[in-house]
Every structure is written in structure tokens, then in C-alpha cells.
């Protein structure tokens, strides 16, 4: 397609049509103090020079030798088939389909994704994916407000703090009040969200209770009781889940979750400094018209052949304008395809194995630290693949270990001042016994 730049005459005509004399007049609303006066763009480079510069920048990435950092993003094996499938030219766009029905293959892949997420969560309908787990959670909270016509939400303090901040940002615009339900973080406490604590906060003004399973500390929350506490006041339960764990834990649809949101990164998407990731969202069919995001449906054409369509688009921005279920009417198609490929490749048994091994290695890790007398578990509740461990003088030792290329998990005191000298350690199926041994040895040698 030829590129036809505007001529000066074109610009003159457009400027006079809108009643201004120069392009700069169009920016008059932006205060002069924040306007860029000049742009310092470096001179052009050759391909080799660009490559060298990018390699130099990439060399500044600090890749740890051993890492137990999780806290919402997890290092899992990504089978090669994932890269092979998402690298195919028919699929290699990260963007949502426009003129969608001509892209039957793309729509089918999204339909498969939705079906897999429904199966994993035990819910009736899943959307075509969101940007990430945090925005999916925020959208779930807004959805609960629309469904209940209420404007307060309760969020457990054991929900990932970064997710909570995104929820707060989303709620600040429409004026939705966010109330924190304190989890039991006392020394020797469970580390869980108590149904009684939730019931104390909740009343008939609340749209939902947002709880995370496993919670930010890896603990297994009493989701059924939390659902009951929410439902007792007519509020919804928004369950924020980790998808791998669903191979072992009860499905949200079975414990009474009304909306499920999740970070889909563990499903075949590599860690890459924060993204791109993919948000998962699922709900009950009765709530589908308040669900945000794209939805692919299966149907048959006039000749009875199976086909896929974007369905229920009347919820979306291009039709519903300011009353749309969300101002984000797109999806993370390529990452969703990665998740679809991953789930299809590993299958139910493979996913269960991943979850089993992650759990086993987390127990091995905690036991090795305790056996060496170096620290002890901070909370008493059963946990999945992440565990909070108390370490004397944690911040200083964390920094010293980092110098040796070992990331001793996440220091919790930055997000939870009451959890000083506590690190959150994650394990996955890729955590090797030798790494645990090396970590414990290095920790012991770093008093």
C-alpha cells in the first residue's frame, strides 16, 4: 500500500477547517511548562550498530544464578512447542482481531483458550483474556459493582499488594471505596484471611470480597467460608487464583466463586521483567453481560458449518460507548495462545505434575532452611508452592546473597512493615535440589 504524506496545502486546509492557524495551536491546552521544546534523537545507526547497542543493553540485565523469587510471577518450563506455535505467521500478532470473522483460526484459538480456562476454573464462561492478572482483578471488582449496584469492595490484605494497588487505581475514578480485610499476620498466626474478619468488614453495601488462592504468602485460604461470608450480605466472591495450583486445589466454581481473575503467566509465558503477561477472567453465565473484554462464541453458518464469531459485542466500547462493560475491549491474543498451547501440550496430568513438583520443592526448601536452623516458617497454614520464612537480619543477608547471584525471594517488609525479617520464597518444578542445597549453604555462610 502506497504511503501518501500530507502536503503543506493539505495541512493548511485542515487547519483552517478547524479554525486554527498552526499545528502548535492544537496543543495550546497543554501548559507550555510541560511541553517538549526539542527532541534529542540520536543519529541513524547501521543494523550492526543497532545490534551491538542492544547487546550492550541486554548485557546489563542481572540474571541471577539461583532465584526463589515468585510473588506473582513464576519460572516454569515452557515447552518448545509453545514458541513454535506462537511464532507461526498466522498467529504472530499480539493484538485482538479486528474484522474478526475473517480470522477463523485466530477466533478458534481464542475459543479453545476460553474453554480451557473454564475447565481449569470450573466456571461457565471465560473471556478472551486481559492484559494481566492485576487488571483482570480490577475489572472483576468493577464487574461485581455493576452486578450488585453497589460501590464498596473488600479486599484481603493477603492479596498481592501490587494487584491491590491496580485495583485501587481502577476504583479511584468511579469513586468505589476499597476496604482492606486484614489477614492474620501475627507471629505464629495462620497467614490467612479469616472468614470472621471478612464478615466484620462486609455489609450489604459491599459489591464483593476479593481473596487470593493461594494467597500472597502461599497459604491455602478457606475460600468456601469466604464465599459464604460474601454471599451472606449479597456480595460476590472474586477469587484471584494461580492457574497451576488449580491442578491440585478445588476449582473456584466449586467453592462458590462468582468471578475468577488470574495472572496467566505461569502457563507457558516466560519471565521477562514484568511482561507481556496475560490476564484470565471467568464468571457465571448469568453475569456474562457485565463481563468485560472480548468473547468468542461457536456457531454454525448458513450451510451448517462450524464457525466462530466475536459474540455479545454489545457490551463493548465500540457499540456501547461510555456505558461499555469496560473501556478495554481488546485481548492479549498471542499470550493467550501461548497459554492455550502450554495447557494443551502438558495436559491435565502434566499440569498436575508441575503443581505437585512445585509443592514438593517448596516443602524441601522450607525443610532444608529449618533443618539447618537458619530460619523458620512465619505462618502455620498449609501452603502451596510459596512459603514465608523468618530469617534473622533478613534485609542485610538478602543483599549479600544477591551479590553472589542468589535471590533469596522477596523481602516482605517493603509491603508489610509488620513482617520484618521475613522472606517469601517460591519454588517450581524447575527448582533443583542442588539449588536449594547451594542456597542453604550460602545462607549459612552469610551470618
Amino acid at each position: 500500500m502506497a504511503y501518501s504524506p500530507h502536503t503543506d496545502a493539505d495541512r493548511e486546509r485542515m487547519l483552517s477547517a478547524v479554525g486554527v492557524t498552526s499545528i502548535d495551536d492544537l496543543f495550546a491546552d497543554i501548559p507550555a511548562s510541560v511541553r517538549a521544546t526539542r527532541f534529542e534523537v540520536p543519529p541513524p545507526l547501521t543494523e550492526q550498530e543497532v545490534r551491538a547497542e542492544l547487546m550492550r543493553l541486554a548485557g546489563r540485565n542481572a540474571l541471577p544464578r539461583i532465584s526463589f523469587l515468585g510473588a506473582g510471577a513464576y519460572r516454569h518450563l515452557v515447552p518448545s512447542v509453545v514458541g513454535e506455535v506462537i511464532g507461526r505467521s498466522e498467529f504472530s500478532t499480539s493484538y485482538t482481531p479486528y474484522q474478526p470473522e475473517v480470522s477463523q483460526g485466530t477466533l478458534q484459538s481464542i475459543y479453545e483458550f476460553q474453554s480451557l480456562i473454564c475447565e481449569l476454573t470450573g466456571m461457565e464462561v471465560a473471556s478472551a483474556s486481559h492484559y494481566d492478572g492485576a487488571t483482570a482483578t480490577a475489572e472483576a471488582a468493577l464487574m461485581a459493582c455493576r452486578l450488585t449496584h453497589r460501590d464498596r469492595i473488600a479486599v484481603s490484605s493477603a492479596v498481592n499488594p501490587q494487584v491491590r494497588r491496580v485495583v485501587e487505581t481502577y476504583c479511584s475514578g468511579p469513586g468505589i471505596e476499597v476496604v482492606i480485610v486484614p489477614a492474620d499476620l501475627r507471629p505464629g498466626g495462620s497467614g490467612l484471611t479469616g472468614p470472621d474478619a471478612a464478615a466484620q468488614v462486609l455489609d450489604a453495601g459491599f459489591a464483593c470480597l476479593v481473596a487470593q488462592q493461594p494467597n500472597f504468602f502461599g497459604g491455602i485460604e478457606p475460600m468456601r467460608e469466604l464465599a459464604d461470608a460474601a454471599h451472606a450480605v449479597g456480595a460476590q466472591l472474586v477469587a484471584v487464583v494461580e492457574p497451576t495450583s488449580l491442578a491440585l486445589l478445588e476449582a473456584p466454581g466449586d467453592y462458590g466463586a462468582d468471578i475468577v481473575a488470574a495472572e496467566g503467566q505461569p502457563l507457558g509465558i516466560p519471565l521477562s521483567y514484568g511482561g507481556p503477561y496475560v490476564g484470565l477472567m471467568a464468571a457465571r453465565m448469568e453475569s456474562v453481560r457485565q463481563m468485560p473484554g472480548r468473547l468468542v462464541g461457536a456457531t454454525s453458518d448458513a450451510r451448517g458449518r462450524k464457525g466462530y464469531v466475536l459474540t455479545l459485542q454489545a457490551r463493548e466500547q465500540h457499540i456501547r460507548r461510555e456505558k461499555a462493560a469496560s473501556n478495554i475491549c481488546t485481548n492479549q491474543a498471542l499470550c493467550a495462545l501461548a497459554a492455550t498451547t502450554y495447557l494443551t501440550a502438558v495436559g491435565p496430568a502434566g499440569l498436575r505434575e508441575v503443581a505437585d513438583l512445585s509443592m514438593i520443592q517448596a516443602r524441601h526448601l522450607a525443610a532444608a532452611i529449618e533443618a539447618a536452623g537458619l530460619g523458620k516458617r512465619r505462618f502455620s497454614a498449609p501452603y502451596f508452592a510459596e512459603v514465608a520464612v523468618q530469617l534473622p537480619d533478613a534485609a542485610r543477608r538478602h543483599a549479600l546473597l544477591a551479590q553472589q547471584g542468589i535471590v533469596a525471594g522477596l523481602l516482605l517488609e517493603f509491603e508489610y512493615p509488620e513482617l520484618g525479617d521475613t522472606v517469601l520464597l517460591a519454588a517450581t518444578e524447575l527448582t533443583r535440589d542442588e539449588e536449594i542445597d547451594a542456597f542453604v549453604a550460602a545462607l549459612g555462610a552469610t551470618p
Binding site: 449496584h149 453481560r289 454489545a314 457499540i319 456501547r320 456505558k323
Partner: protein, 128 residues
């Protein structure tokens, strides 16, 4: 010949009708609105017990072509909604003035009826 509309109803310029029976008013959309929308696939009904305000939105109607807000032709407290529409929204197309009623409200100000059109004025509006 312009279309005929029931004489016992009052009409809004937003194509809703209202049938008054004592303190109760039944609300729906006109055959003109239903025809313009095309096949209606979903109606979002107001909650019983909620308050609606004349000419303000109180629900949503979705057709295969478009989504439109429903504007209350009169203010009041919603006393009943047409539950049949949840399963059979097409009643709005097939029988907009009777079986396709949307909600009943307890009228808060009967004077508001003066701001509505009679069937002849509404027929003129839609003919134009």
C-alpha cells in the same frame, strides 16, 4: 396512512409508552421503537424497589443491531418488572403494547403525564 397507536396510552419522545391505572403506571417501548431496533435479544430490567426518574435511563434494550437506553416516561418506584422478558425478550417485538410491557411503577407525580404525547401527537412524531 400513518401508523396507529393505542389511544389509552401516553407516549414519550424517546419512544416509551405509559398506561396509567390509578396510582400504577405500566411502561413499555412502542412498536415504532421495536421495529427500528430490529430483533431484540436482551432487556436489562430495573430492580424492583428502585426509583426511576422521568426522562432518565432505567434499563437497557439490546437488539441484533444496537444497544439503547430505556428512558422512564414517568417518575416513580418500580413495583413490578416483566420477568417473562428475561427468557423471551422478543415479546418486545411481537407484542410491545401488552405482553411486552417492561415495568410497573407507583407514580410519584401524576402531573408529569402532561409532558407526554397522546397517540395522535406520537403518530405525527414518528411519521415525520
Amino acid at each position: 396512512m400513518p401508523p396507529m397507536y393505542p389511544d389509552d396510552l401516553r407516549y414519550s419522545r424517546e419512544h416509551e409508552w405509559v398506561r396509567v391505572d390509578g396510582s400504577q403506571a405500566t411502561i413499555g417501548i412502542t412498536s415504532f421503537a421495536a421495529d427500528e431496533l430490529g430483533d431484540i435479544v436482551f432487556v436489562e430490567l430495573p430492580d424492583v424497589g428502585s426509583r426511576v426518574t422521568q426522562f432518565a435511563t432505567f434499563g437497557v434494550v439490546e437488539s441484533v443491531k444496537a444497544v439503547s437506553d430505556l428512558y422512564a416516561p414517568i417518575s416513580g418506584l418500580v413495583s413490578e418488572v416483566n420477568e417473562a422478558l428475561r427468557q423471551s425478550p422478543e415479546l418486545l417485538n411481537s407484542d410491545p403494547f401488552t405482553a411486552g410491557w417492561i415495568a410497573r411503577v407507583t407514580i410519584s407525580d401524576a402531573g408529569e403525564l402532561d409532558a407526554l404525547l397522546d397517540s395522535a401527537a406520537y403518530a405525527e412524531l414518528t411519521a415525520g
